[in-house]
Amino acid sequence: MSEKMSSSATASHLEDIKKRGFYLDDVYRHVKSFAVKDVQVVEDGKHLHIEWEDGHVSRFYSMWLRHNCHCGVCLPHTNYALIDFTKLDANIKISSAKKESDEVIVVTWTGENSEEKHHEGPLLTRFLRHHCYSDAAERTRSKQRAMTFHEDKTIPTLEYDSVVNSDEALYKWLVTLSERGICLIKNAPPSLEDMLKATRRIADVQPTIYGTTFEVESAPSEVEASNPAYTRIGLEYHQDQIHYESPPGIEVLHCVKFDECIKGGENFFVDMHEVAAKFKAEEPEDFYALTRIPSIADTVNYKRENPVHIRIQRPLITVNHKDEIVNVLWRPMLMAPLQVPEKDVQAFYKAYKKFYTLVTTYKSIYKHRLRPGDMLSFNNRRLSHGRKPYSENGHRLLQGCYMNISEFQSKVEAFHNKIGGGRFAVRSGAIDWQ
């Protein structure tokens, strides 16, 4: 009787997990090799060895498995795990592991020195394979997430109508932004609403201290301009609004007017991650100085109707636990006085000067003169942008908006799984150690 009950209970593990919303079809359908050849508890219950049909071997630590238990007590609600670590034994052991079906392994754990003495729960084989942390699996993930840089700096283009009307074209837009960091959308109608119709396909607008959307048009006089962008002067390479913890992600510049008679005003872009990678290879000591010594980005303006006083101190370059570059911030114009211990002052300036020179003299860059109807989208976290000065005749008017980088990356991941082949998205330049 008891045997029968337990078998009927286990037979429903998969269905039960699906019912609670933890079977992520869209993600797991891309996990092709999930057939388990052999499961073994090793090292007195400390690790679980799984040999897969395709020959790959995974090794999971007892607590890692316990942390990811898929039973109804640990994962009662969609996306909400309830595992109380204060009741677990640090030396929790796997007492048994059994393949229930191609899709489910049932594990039992014991812990002698804590409140929870015994626990049993299912884990999905596709989940385990997807999240395997072996060196080989990690290499594959790292490779997919790494940015690649192309010698060819032609800006990829798409048509406005297609990105607005087709999911395939939208996916192409997302992938281009994700892999190249820049994409030109051609033939966009001139209204603000038309611009937003396209950008909302990716994410809602990210509001900033300059409003939800903005216009770039020169102010009547240079001194009146709250920001040099609103003048006709040239702008050196910069990323926008790096004074925020999460600076704007995707930036869109939509050209409404740009009279033919105007001389200058071209935009140019350099891939900061490409330059930083080169800097790391050529000048490691200076590179690490910029990962270690923080500088301050600030916007302090008490003359506005709503005064702002934003300051954030952090390094210009961030590397993750695997020494990969994840974040580069660049805006020489917004740099406040350096405030670090004296011993770091000279080291910072030595490195900063070298990196600055490398950035501003970098040869392989994107260039474009906007034409009315162009909607230029680029990743503000990956590319620095600049502008040539332009002449005083004629009218140049751009409108633009930003999208949050975490929301953009979410959209890319979701589309890779929904429409694409289920790969991991390329790093976005956000402070994310993946």
């Binding site: 999240h131 942390y133 923080p294 020489p332």
Partner: protein
């Protein structure tokens, strides 16, 4: 864009400062500068950190005239008069002695980068100087005070340049060790022993009270407003006194109440453990506002709980230096992967639970067990991580909670990046419990605090808010 009400409510003459808050600048100097070492080198051991902390306790803050070092330069009590300037042998730096006896050193490159000459700096404050043109071998040929500026002549491989820097700018941005030390004390948040309260009427009508409310949020990390009218739109109205509401994947505002289908634990009557919201964003929501709309007398339990996680991280460091180090190095995975909703989301952010600045001080902490994805780190780090994780979880359970029973009309505002929040389970007994909430961006909040300190207060620095700022 909506206009913030903040500054329109302020009277420029207001100077009422609650004594409770003004005493918040502690005289205890916990400094990591104590022996001038940092812990950012991977080689430095955690015991060094502990030593630094203990040594720091013994460092006494010397009396210092300075009240502010922010970039807002017009500060009361700030000495702007220079007694003497000496260019150091080697010509790579100079020492400025101020009328009040304070001495600060400035290096040639630092001075050149902050030169206020017309070609170096736009009138709006943005820098025009080309950094590649500033050589590290720049020497100072002369440095003299003229009127209210230090006039400096530099020379280097690219020729020479003469420019000036206002003395008040120099004083407020000086990086003398004592100044840096003093700043560390100013920006370090101290845990609150109880939740401060203000009344909604006072915020609207009493001079200085709006400022007091915002200071409490920054200094204690939390504040309750009493007697907020029970209207659906009030939570947004209150938020907009500080800045625009931050929309998230849950919309601009949200309701926390027991619903029949309970798709999220927040919408059940179960207890909710301590956590932060939306940590899977690069910049999670800063302030969270929860307006109690309904909380019937018959409902049993359901107290709100809060814990200052910065304080707990400091305690963790002292008790378990090695485990602390692990949580700063091995990244956790925070995620919200949910395809079965109108707008599918796949938000993942990998980062360590605790982030340190270049001085080894805690500048961000993340704790959200319900939203942790599978750990994805090197196999060698897995066991180490779980030991540290479990120990920190146990320590949090022993933390001294701020517990509060919200009443209809109460509106609690707390810093989501500093205060963990949760609630006790409850029994409805046929009654209702409903909170209405929204979020505010952390950088905008910190900006408003700093603006108010400068316009209304004594120009002090805003406390650290957990936005990964290393200052």
């Amino acid at each position: 864009m909506k206009q913030f009400r903040l500054l329109r409510n302020l009277s420029s003459k207001s100077s009422a400062v609650s004594s409770a808050v003004s005493s918040a600048i502690s005289s205890r100097a916990v400094s990591l500068f104590a022996n001038n070492r940092t812990t950012t080198d991977s080689s430095s051991s955690s015991s060094t950190t502990q030593q630094l902390l203990h040594q720091g306790d013994a460092v006494h803050q010397k009396p210092c005239q300075l009240k502010s070092y922010s970039s807002f330069s017009d500060q009361p009590g700030t000495e702007k008069r220079v007694a003497s300037v000496t260019v150091d042998p080697g010509l790579r730096s100079c020492h400025v002695t101020w009328e009040d006896g304070f001495i600060s050193q400035f290096h040639s490159a630092w001075l050149r980068h902050n030169c206020h000459s017309e070609e170096s700096r736009h009138p709006n404050g943005q820098k025009l100087l080309k950094p590649s043109s500033v050589s590290c071998s720049l020497v100072i040929n002369s440095a003299v005070v003229k009127d209210t500026s230090l006039v400096v002549t530099w020379s280097g491989p690219n020729g020479s340049h003469t420019g000036h820097i206002p003395t008040d700018f120099l004083r407020s941005h000086n990086y003398n060790r004592q100044t840096l030390l003093d700043r560390r004390v100013q920006v370090k948040p101290e845990p609150a022993s109880e939740i401060p309260k203000v009344s909604y009427d006072d915020i609207l009508n009493k001079e200085g009270c709006l400022y007091r409310w915002i200071r409490h949020i920054n200094e204690e990390g939390i504040c309750i407003i009493e007697n907020v009218p029970p209207r659906e739109d009030m939570v947004e109205k209150v938020a907009e006194m500080i800045g625009p509401v931050m929309p998230t994947i849950y919309g601009s505002t949200f309701d926390v109440e027991k619903t029949p289908d309970e798709i999220n634990v927040a919408y059940s009557s179960l207890p909710i453990g301590l956590h932060q919201d939306l940590v899977y964003f690069e910049s999670p929501p800063g302030l969270q506002l929860l307006h109690c709309m309904e909380f019937d007398e018959c409902v049993e339990g359901g107290h709100s709980i809060f814990l200052d996680v910065f304080d707990m991280a400091d305690k963790f460091r002292v008790m378990y230096p090695d485990l602390f180090q692990t949580l700063t190095q091995v990244p956790a995975t925070f995620q919200k992967v949910h395809y079965d909703r109108n707008l599918p989301v796949h938000l993942v952010n990998q980062k360590p639970h605790i982030k340190l600045n270049h001085l080894g001080e805690v500048c961000a902490v993340y704790w959200a067990p319900p939203f942790e994805g599978p750990l994805a780190v090197d196999a060698n780090d897995v066991e180490k991580y779980y030991l540290a994780y479990e120990t920190f979880a146990k320590l949090l359970e022993k933390g001294k909670l701020l517990r509060y029973h919200l009443r209809p009309g109460d509106l609690v505002v707390f810093n989501n990046l500093r205060m963990l929040h949760g609630r006790d389970g409850f029994k409805t007994n046929g009654g209702a419990r409903r909170l209405r909430g929204c979020y505010l961006n952390i950088d905008i909040f910190k900006s408003q605090v700093q603006v108010l300190h400068n316009l209304e207060g004594d120009g002090r620095l805003a406390k650290r808010v957990g936005n990964q700022c290393w200052f």
